[in-house]
Amino acid sequence: MHNNGDKLIGSEIFFECLRREKVEYIFGYPGGALLKVYETLHDVEDIEHILVRHEQGATHMAEGYARATGRPGVVLVTSGPGATNTVTGITNAYMDSTPLVVFTGQVPSSLIGNDAFQEADIVGITRPITKHNFLVKDVRELASTIRKAFFLATNGRPGPVLVDMPKDVLNTECVFEWPESVDIRGFKPTIKCHANQVQKAARMIAKAMRPLFYVGGGVISADASEELRKIAIDQQIPVTMTLQGLGAFPGDHPLSMGMLGMHGTYWANQAVSNCDLLIAVGARFDDRVTGKVDTFATHAYKIHNDIDPTNVDKNIKVDLPVVGDSKDFLATLIEAMPKTKEDRSAWLDEIEAWRRQCPLDYTIEPDSLKTEFVIDEVSKQTRGHAVVVTDVGQHQMWTSQYYKFTEPRSIITSGGLGTMGFGLPSAIGAAFGVTDRPVVLFSGDGGLMMNIQELVTAVYNRLPVKIFLINNSYLGMVRQWQELFHQEKYTFTDLAASNPDFVKVAEAFGCKAMSASNPESARKAITEALAYNEGPVLVDFRVIRKDMVFPMVPAGGSISDMLLARLNPKTMV
C-alpha cells in the first residue's frame, strides 16, 4: 500500500491503482513489454494474478468474472500479439455491455510507429470495439488514466476500456497522486429518468389491457430485478426476456414467458405480436429478437427504457422513449402507478392457451440422449440455482429454453457477437467470482475446442467448473441451417471423423472426465459431477447427432410465424 505523494515507478503505480479500485483478480499473460510489471507483481500479495494460456482466454475469463459478480474484469497482456489476441474478447464484451479494463503493454514510446518488435497499434485497432481507450504517454498521467478507465467501464452503459502502457512509462518514476474524483466532460450519462416520461408510462400501463414486459441485459446490469418482479407481479404483466435478460425475472413464475425471438417460446412471440403495450426495459430490439421489423409488435404502443440513447429508435421506432438507468425507471414507475388496476386475466388466459398450443417439450428414449433432457436435468438437479455459462450454438438456445433461471447473474453467454470459444474461459472467470453457487458450463464440441487450452487454468486453480459437453460432433447450428435453408449441403460441419476423444483429452489435462450416452447414465453423471468439487469435471454427453432447435423464426421472418418442427418445415403457425 502506497500513499499519495510517494515516489513510484509506473509499474508500482499500476498495482496501487488496481488496489484502490479493489481489484481481486487479474487475468493475464506476461511478455517483453510487461517485464517490469511482472517484476513488481512478484511482491504484490493482495491482488491475485491468474495465468491464462491464451490472451483471448483472459478476456473471456474477465468477462465471465464481471458478468457473475457485477464488478469490472481486469486483463493484463503484453504488446503486439498479446494485445491483438484480445480483440475478439473485447468485441464480445462491447456487444454485450460488460465492464472490462484491458491493460496492454506497448513498445517504448520512442519506438512507437517504427514497426518495432511486437508492436501493434492496439489503440487504433480497438477504437471501434471499446467504449473508450487510452495510450498513456507520460507516467504522470498513468494514475488518472486508470481511474478514468474504471469509471468509464462501469458507469452508464458498461463496456470494455483499454489502456495501452508503453514500456518506458512503466519504468519511469514520478510522484503518485490518486485523483479523488473523476470528471470527464464528454461523458455525462443520463441516470435519472425524466419524471414526465415515467408518469406518462405509468398512465399507459394502467390502462393497457394486453401489456407485456420485454426485458434485456440492462435490467441485470442495473441490478433492477427486484423492482421488475414487484411491478410485474403487482400489475399482473407477463415478462419475456432476451437471452441476456434471462434470470431478471424468475423463470418458474407463472408470469414468466421465457425468451422471445428467433428461438424464443411460441407464446412469448405470440404475446409480442398481440400485445397492446410493449414495455422494453434495458433491451435493444436486436434483430434476433425482432425478426422482420415491419411486423414486430405492430399493435403495441411501445415504451422503451434504456441507459444508452443510441438504442432508442435505432431498430424500431418507439412511442415513448425513457432514457435512464433501468433501476431508476422501474423504481419510479412503481411509485407512479395509480392504485386502480385493470383486470388482465383474459390476456393471461390467452397467453396460457398459446403456451398449451405449442409447449416446449421433448421425448425421452431409453437408448439415445437428447440435449433438452441434459439441460432440463441439470436445471432440476441445481434447482435453477447455478451460474450457467454457455458457448454458442444449438446448446446455447436449448439452454435458454430448458434451464429455469431463477435469479439474475445466472446466465453468462455470448449474445451480441456469438463468439464460439467463449464458454470454457468465461466459466473459469465466473468460478473465480462466485463460490457459493455451482458454475455449470454447457458447451458444444466445436466451441470447446476453440479455447480448450484454458482447461489447464481450471485444473491448476482447482476450480469446480462442471463442463457439460454437448457432443453431437457437428457444428450443429450451422448444420441445422444447412438442412433447412441450404439444400442439405453439409460442407465442413461434420466433425465426427476429426474430433478427439474428449474424455482422454480432459484426462490428459488432469481433469476428471466421464461420458454418457443415454438418459440413465446422463442423470447419474450429472449427479456425480455436481457433487465433485475438487476441481473441474467434464462430462462428454454423446447426444443425438442431428437434432434441431425448435421452435424457430427463419432469419428475416416475422416472429409470429414460427417453424415448429423438422417434420413439417413448410408448415408455419
Partner: protein, 159 residues
C-alpha cells in the same frame, strides 16, 4: 437532406479518427469534415456535413454524443448560422482567357494568390453552394487543380 453538424471535441490525438471511424462503421454518409482548435487550446471544433433522413440524422447525433471525446454536438441545420468554405482554384491561363477569368473572379470576390505565365491560383470564400457555382463557371477555362476546405460553421449571434 443535408445536415450541418458542429461538434466540440477534446483536442487529443485520435479524436478525428474516432469520429470518422464511427461514420464509416455505422454506414453514415460523411460529405465533409473539418477540424481546428478553438479559443480554448484543449478543445477543437469539428464541422461535419452529412446527409440522411431524420431517423438517420438522429442516430448520427446520438452516436456522436456517445463518443467520450465529444463535448457538445449541435445540429446547426435549422438554426441561424453562418457557413463558409475556402476554395483554392488553380486555372490554366492564356492571353485569350485572362480577361474573362479576372472578371469572373471579381464577381465571386476572389483573390489572386499566385500567378505565373501559364497558371493562376485564386482564393474564394463563401457558402458551399457559392463555391460549387464558382467551380462550375470556371470549369470551361481549364481547372489544373483545386482544393476545398470543407465547410466550417458557427451560430449567428443573438440580437
Amino acid at each position: 437532406m443535408k445536415h450541418l453538424i458542429s461538434v466540440l471535441v477534446e483536442n487529443k490525438f485520435g479524436t478525428l479518427n474516432r469520429v470518422a471511424a464511427m461514420f464509416s462503421a455505422r454506414g453514415f454518409n460523411l460529405e465533409s469534415i473539418s477540424i481546428g482548435e478553438t479559443e480554448d487550446p484543449e478543445i477543437s471544433r469539428m464541422t461535419i456535413v452529412t446527409r440522411g433522413e431524420d431517423r438517420i440524422i438522429s442516430q448520427v447525433l446520438k452516436q456522436l454524443n456517445r463518443l467520450i471525446d465529444t463535448i457538445k454536438v449541435t445540429d446547426l441545420t435549422h438554426q441561424p448560422h453562418v457557413e463558409r468554405e475556402l476554395l483554392l482554384l488553380s486555372l490554366k491561363l492564356n492571353k485569350s482567357t485572362q480577361h474573362e477569368i479576372f472578371e469572373l473572379a471579381n464577381v465571386f470576390k476572389g483573390k489572386v494568390v499566385d500567378i505565373k505565365q501559364k497558371s493562376i491560383t485564386i482564393e474564394f470564400v463563401g457558402s458551399p453552394d457559392k463555391i460549387n457555382t464558382a467551380i462550375d463557371l470556371f470549369r470551361p477555362f481549364g481547372i489544373r487543380e483545386l482544393a476545398r476546405s470543407g465547410a466550417v460553421a458557427i451560430h449567428r449571434g443573438e440580437s
